[in-house]
């Protein structure tokens, strides 16, 4: 690479779990340097965050507008190359649009927007500008998920018949107290959009199923529910799925599944073989057969997934490393633009983001009936 790639950040102030996760992931390979941020809409908090991150005060901006405008005026080689958007859902759209307008590549949290219209507009803008856009469906970046994708799309499972994907969490089983920043904005329609559970994690499950298989959900029938009294958005639900090749399956997501941490899991059954992957044990991909013993494929063992590995097998890579694969991908893609090289990105795109927003709206709109997606 020609030089380190420069990152700006919107969001990720004090107490923001995902903002810190983005930064750790971006740092991991030493290819990216955080150079500026609009970490909070409170200027004091923004500056405090920037100070902790060893940023100069003048690059801790009071707003993303200011950041994009001022950074755009800095010379190449000094100004940021791309922005990471790690704010609550309702702000993604306008931040991303502004970033694109100012010529910055974008890494954006999911769900991409809170309405389908915004998602479509953003997709159009990405296309129009030709800028890079990575949606952080970070689970797709686990090496064994990419191995699963290659196997499924390469025909190793035969024709796919059944997909079971689930994402149970327990952390919102009780009413959220105001000091729970993460929980508060996610359960608030003003910041989260029309869905909590299905938007926050159901969309990851949807994305994972389509990412691995290359199949598209064509119809779904959802039964979602709000269990915690006083909560305005769904916190639990199940969705029947029909795919474009005739496969069927079910998607379950819950944030009131007491005792569950972050238990995203997918199983895919084809005519020849089946796959099983669990996010909490991400280094293993189980491959099952009717006519021989199941195989435990492990990251970087016997060459499996070596191209997405930083460590030998048995030296656990986890959430940051997967997330870091997205950032590395973005850094290499930007470098290719800077140097006139080429780099084929593997990260989820604005199209995946649009599809996710459509999925969320279909699920919420289903009300127990079948709807097209």
């Amino acid at each position: 690479m020609k030089r380190k790639i420069r990152m700006g950040m919107v969001g990720g102030g004090p107490g923001a779990f995902i903002g810190n996760a983005h930064r750790c992931a971006a740092r991991l390979d030493g290819l990216i340097e955080l150079v500026c941020g609009a970490f909070s809409s409170h200027p004091d908090k923004c500056r405090a965050a920037g100070k902790e991150l060893f940023l100069p005060e003048e690059r801790c901006y009071a707003s993303y507008d200011e950041m994009f405008e001022k950074e755009a005026k800095l010379p190449e080689g000094e100004r940021m190359d791309f922005v990471s958007i790690t704010t609550p859902n309702h702000t993604h759209f306008k931040i991303a649009m502004k970033a694109l307008e100012c010529g910055f590549h974008v890494v954006c949290e999911k769900p991409m927007t809170t309405t389908v219209e915004e998602a479509e507009a953003l997709a159009a803008e990405v296309k129009r500008t030709g800028l890079l856009f990575c949606l952080t469906h970070n689970y797709t970046a686990y090496p064994m998920v990419r191995v699963a994708k290659r196997m499924a799309r390469g025909g190793e499972l035969g024709e796919i018949r059944r997909i079971m994907v689930e994402y149970p969490q327990g952390w919102l089983a009780d009413a959220v107290t105001p000091d729970n920043i993460q929980g508060s904005w996610r359960t608030n329609p003003a910041t989260s959009g029309i869905s909590c559970c299905m938007g926050d994690i159901g969309s990851h499950a949807e994305n994972l199923a389509e990412f691995i298989t290359g199949l598209k959900i064509t119809e779904l029938c959802a039964n979602i529910k709000t269990f915690v009294p006083g909560r305005a958005l769904d916190d639990d639900g199940d969705v029947l799925l029909r795919f474009d090749n005739g496969a069927i399956g079910a998607l379950s997501a819950s944030q009131v599944a007491v005792g569950e941490e972050n238990a995203l899991k997918i199983r895919i059954y084809g005519t020849k073989a089946a796959l099983e992957w669990r996010q909490e044990n991400p280094e293993t991909l189980i491959v099952k057969y009717n006519d021989r013993p199941a195989q435990l494929m492990r990251r970087n063992w016997a060459g499996v997934g070596a191209e997405w590995s930083r460590l030998p097998a048995g030296h656990p890579e986890g959430f940051f490393e997967a997330f870091g694969n997205l950032y590395r991908d973005m850094a290499l893609a930007i470098d290719a633009r800077l140097t006139g090289g080429t780099h084929e990105t593997e990260y989820p795109t604005v199209e995946d983001g649009l599809r996710g927003v459509r999925f969320i709206h279909a699920v919420v709109g289903s009300q127990g009936a079948w709807v097209k997606l």
Copy 2:
């Protein structure tokens, strides 16, 4: 006990997996003696089976009618006490009705009948005769399932919100050849009834969910499918569930889930705790909490489930032992009748069988819409 309890059997001839399982289970505790059988509708096969079982030729009957009639004329202390019905689904009803008519207690395979009307008639007949009737939803007899039931019904989970139950198998992923006796009758509407997958295993899943929780499914919405070309009945499907307390969940069953053996699994999430149990690892019940570490409850460790155990913890009990709990229960119940004692049975009853048949018909009738159960 006063004496060994005497068992007759209908079905269970050569190649019948489940018939042999019944016999092994019945033998396990030494409380039951097989004294007669109508093992096959072919008299030769019946006699051959009886010979292998060391039965006298005169008690290997050419038909169940003959068996019930002749046995009924033998003196108490010689005639059979109860019958085990292990034939294909379509015959359960008439065999069970005849057995009851002749005064014999009944152990019957599931699904209990192939129509709701038959199931209702049989339930009425059991009630009228006052005879004992055990439906072999054998998975309910695993010690850790009974522990789960006690916990769930005793309030240890709090209010139940979510139930996820699944039963994937892979053995019918391809078209069945004629020599596959088990597969042939199950995929044939004439012998299996209106459903293959949902009748054979989906009904186990339904039963397990209701058995453990005491909740009732009030509404369901099913998406079932036949994947194998030329097959007349469903071999795969998912069902959205609503329970009488407001809980929701999903049931998935498949016989085309390549690589899956007999992977019945249930998870139950309450407001306070959650349970997870897997049939393939039946000695462990996982209890999960939001506010403390999960617990691995193990059969007969620290007293858990000791009342249903034959062996110390760590000495695996399995399918036969669970099944044997049903037979022991039946033997003790019959002995109580013989001796004027009392015995409280824990086995599934004709009412469970009726509910299962209603479930199967609701699922098949759903056609993607919500139906009451």
Copy 3:
């Protein structure tokens, strides 16, 4: 088979875990009938036990001497065919010798005797009489252990280099109270012999390692210990092992390993592949490679171990079923003698028993130094 095989039993009175396990195992396949017993040295207890087992009073004998002598005088077809010896260790020798003298085949618990001299004398007597003798190293009878044996001896692992076998239990972590019958006799030198932990379970571990690999331990160096104050025999220890092909390894056994149930586990590493098997999860055999993913071999899946299976894959078989394989083997062997047929037994023999007794004495005699075995 010509007829059911007739079993007598010594030991196995009230509260005897292993006696009941023997009976359940013997019953499982319906090939064996318990016809008599000397269940206790207290005649009342013996009769009570016999009554519970539905035996006629005249065949509940006051002593094994009486049993062997009287049974020997009964006509063939009525008298017992073999005896199961399930008493404490110190009695095995004289009971077995007497049984052989009276012409009965023997199933005997391990350790076979409490001295090497007795073991040698018993081995000689078995050879002299030509009678059948099965030592219940029951863990060798798990289907996946037999699959492991076939693989290891068939060269699928390459040359074996390393064997790790362990058997931790926690049940004797505290001093034994008198009502703990199992614990009391095992910790008493008068009934248990020179070792508790190494005799009771260490010898299972030794046997398993040699059974699967066909290798012989040639030298060992042991560090054993008694942790519970006042206990007269070892309750914990580790043993360095050297095998006749140059392989090395370690054996650990403990009865004070708090929290462990019955965690016998073995790992065998060869130049080409490795095996791992755990008794508490006996249906799975893991096969590991350097150049491809590990395989999960499962009982009766894709044909693996089908010849030792009673149930399809995913229908758990456990401790009784493994134990039952020994009894079935004995029954078929006796039948072959009755009918002039042939049957190749797979059960552990008097030679395995002799080897086990030598192992126990070597371990106890080692005192931290290397000793030949």
Copy 4:
């Protein structure tokens, strides 16, 4: 923190797995900046490595001597604060001594030195200079290992009786080809010292056992072996252990355990409870009891190990994150020195390094007999 802490590196040139791991770990939290390096004894390779790391050419030094001397002359705030030594074993001593002499804090790979004398001299020098010294027994930095330490040392297990620690790997099962850089220097006495397997990984196992429990090995008896023909150092072995409180146990390590990745595992049994931890599944600590169900403690669930966590439970942290805990610790300790604050380090020290070297020499010197440690 006042500013980012500046790191220099010795070793870690092209193809060096552990050098890159150090850098990733050091970057993770954004507290440390790599400012210079002597990455290779080949100046070209060194410069190439530095360029890939975006370092200025003038700070890519031809030798560590040059680096320490030149960096020492740079002003505070520009010169490096500490050095990471990631070279083969035989060079650690002189590099570390020189670094200390020049006033730099040290992060050093294990084993610390190749002789006990060097280790003692280095320990004395660290003491004399008062500089910070972190030995990268990185496995001690997994959150759940630290939880285990707190539990074990806090008495939650009762008195510890048994420790079983094992570290099987399979990657050196065959002769090493010259292009295998990692394997080549580790199997070469000139670079590795007197031991391969026990030095490289056995010492991790020893350290882990003492780190968690606070107990000291007082005596050991080792059986080590070289399996691969032509190899000059041990590649496999088992060690009997005696601890200063009377506990006993065994340590096994192998680099020829085909199919094993990096399977460090420890079990610790006390009078009240037991712990089990596996490096390949590092987020879980199993706690076992005799009188209640086992618990699955999970990182950052219900508060467990939150102080060492960067991510919520269920978002896997792995090898880099544990390693990063050592670097964060070092960064905070240096910052405390810069700012006059205090910081209590948790990283392994030069004393642990000395102990490790003594362990390696005791094992190699044992030759099957008991030796004091």
